[in-house]
């Protein structure tokens, strides 16, 4: 029993339902704050329409939480920042040109938020009990439901109704379809490619592009000890390693070239940074045991690269995290099995 106690003291990221409400809401609002630099960069690159999408997501997330709790006569928790965070993350994960395909698709972000809040979170009893990351489920649901609108990407412009914004592929899309050569060509040279990826001047979701801004937010969270290094670093490390080993491809034959991949491109694109620091680390949906968190991170990294290299989608972060969300309770169970008391104590 002494062991368990010690472990709980070390945990910064205990499931929020154990901690007091004030702490939960402070953590949540801090995470929201740490996402702001990336959001601002996204707004700068993609213009007011990005702001509109994100705001729509946040408002509908807050509203659906409030309405659901009102209907079920539950205590309102709208102010704890978690619904805001879900809406914000969902908005940051949507393509800025969502309705350049069809201007009447304003319902898309709203549906995403409702699915995220109601089905993924409130049906399970609210914050602290959800199995899956709500924002990611919302995005996955939208990706499958509106496959065309969700995969149209535009080059960064700052026009509001930029229906004529140039459609283009994301860096990973180019990498998957046409190879690294074409990607470097598209950005001029390799150095320019890396810097542009770092700054975020490229096609992609609203909040995923600016790696540098995301890293600032992540560093802040690490410094405040709201997240720990275990998940993000094992996630990124695994992904980088696998990208280097298996990411190379002989364009002529289409065969895989070992040890020829470009890990930097993979790390800097496709929402990997956003996913690793802000979504895989979600307190509720990842394992609570440290060892388990490392396993979780490695699993995320491996699945991401499996989907990117072998799978049907150019970017795999979302599905990788969701798949590992399925396994999180199992990992927790396996890692805790030697101290049976832990499960009992939680049950009360």
């Amino acid at each position: 029993m002494a062991d368990i106690k010690k472990e709980h003291e070390l945990l910064v990221s205990v499931s929020p339902h154990i901690k007091s409400e004030e702490t939960t809401s402070r953590i949540m609002w801090t995470v929201n704050l740490s996402l702001f630099p990336a959001l601002l960069m996204g707004l700068y690159f993609f213009g007011p329409k990005a702001l509109f999408i994100t705001a729509l997501c946040i408002i509908s997330a807050l509203l659906s939480e409030r309405i659901f709790q009102k209907v079920l006569k539950k205590k309102p928790t709208v102010n704890d920042g978690s619904a805001f965070l879900t809406g914000l993350l969902l908005g940051m994960n949507l393509p800025p040109s969502l309705w350049s395909f069809n201007p009447f698709m304003i319902h898309v972000p709203i549906i995403g938020s409702v699915i995220a809040i109601v089905i993924t979170k409130q049906f399970f009893g609210g914050l602290g009990y959800n199995i899956f990351n709500p924002a990611l489920i919302g995005r996955a649901f939208l990706l499958i439901s509106f496959p065309k609108a969700m995969t149209i990407w535009t080059t960064p412009t700052a026009a509001f109704f930029a229906l004529d914004a140039k459609t283009t592929a994301t860096p990973l899309g180019i990498l998957k379809e046409e190879g690294i050569g074409k990607l470097i060509e598209a950005f001029g040279d390799k150095v320019n490619l890396y810097t542009q990826l770092l700054i975020g001047h490229r096609a992609g979701s609203i909040g995923e592009t600016s790696v540098i801004a995301l890293l600032i937010g992540a560093a802040f969270l690490l410094y405040k000890r709201y997240i720990t290094w275990h998940i993000p670093f094992s996630f990124l490390g695994t992904a980088a390693l696998l990208a280097w080993v298996f990411g190379g491809k002989n364009l002529e034959t289409g065969k895989m070239l070992l040890f020829a991949g470009d890990p930097i491109v993979h790390l800097l694109s496709g929402g990997l940074i956003l996913g690793a620091f802000f979504m895989a680390t979600d307190y509720v949906t990842c394992p609570t045991v440290r060892k388990g968190q490392i396993v979780f991170g490695i699993g995320c990294g491996a699945l991401t690269m499996l989907i990117r290299i072998k799978g049907g989608y150019p970017e795999g972060v979302m599905f990788a995290i969701l798949l590992m969300n399925c396994f999180a309770p199992l990992i927790d169970r396996a890692m805790k099995s030697n101290v049976f008391g832990a499960v009992k104590e939680k049950k009360k």
Partner: protein, 193 residues
């Protein structure tokens, strides 16, 4: 002992009665299934090659280890084109394709016979606009590109893998036809000259 006999007898009677029912239904339905299936297949082939007076099976082949066939479309004694059933390895299934080709080994048209691709994305391969993209393509042109305005096959946006699978299946079918027939055709054209 008496009980055992009773059980056995009752079981045997049930088995025999059930067997009779099933066998009679089978006897009635099996020919219908066979005839309808043949009719459907013939109709599908006929639709792909309306000019031909007869379409004769010329051989079997095995794309991806599946069972494909190829046919000669004839008008009188003369071959006017070919039909091939082929497969493409798609996103989540093997796509069964019927390819119609002229004597010059250019694609005349394709039809999707069966697939299990993602609804809404991959299943767009069934749409006419996509099938039309194959018309008149030669072996060299049967390649997938993502942009408009080339002489190659343009992919369905969002369903590159399915598009590529269909294209690859068609290309293999044309290749098969070239292997089987190009010798005889060139020989014949030499004679004509």
């Amino acid at each position: 002992m008496k009980e055992m006999i009773k059980i056995t007898i009752s079981l045997v009677i049930i088995f025999v009665a059930a067997g009779l029912i099933m066998a009679s239904v089978f006897a009635k339905t099996a020919p219908i299934v066979k005839i309808k299936k043949e009719q459907e297949e013939t109709a599908a082939r006929k639709k792909m090659m309306p000019d031909a007076e007869s379409i004769v099976e010329a051989g079997k082949w095995e794309p991806y280890g599946k069972h494909g066939k190829y046919f000669e479309g004839k008008k009188g004694e003369e071959i006017i084109g070919y039909l091939v059933t082929t497969y493409g390895k798609g996103y989540s299934s093997y796509i069964n394709i019927l390819v119609s080709a002229g004597k010059d080994f250019k694609v005349k048209g394709i039809n999707i016979l069966g697939h299990g691709e993602t609804p809404g994305l991959g299943d767009e391969i069934e749409q006419d606009y996509f099938k039309k993209r194959f018309e008149g393509k030669s072996l060299e042109q049967l390649e997938v590109v993502k942009v408009e305005g080339t002489d190659k096959v343009q992919a369905i946006s969002g369903a590159t893998i399915s598009s590529r699978a269909v294209t690859k299946g068609v290309r293999e079918a044309i290749q098969l036809l070239k292997e089987k027939y190009s010798g005889s055709v060139s020989a014949r054209s030499e004679v004509a000259q």
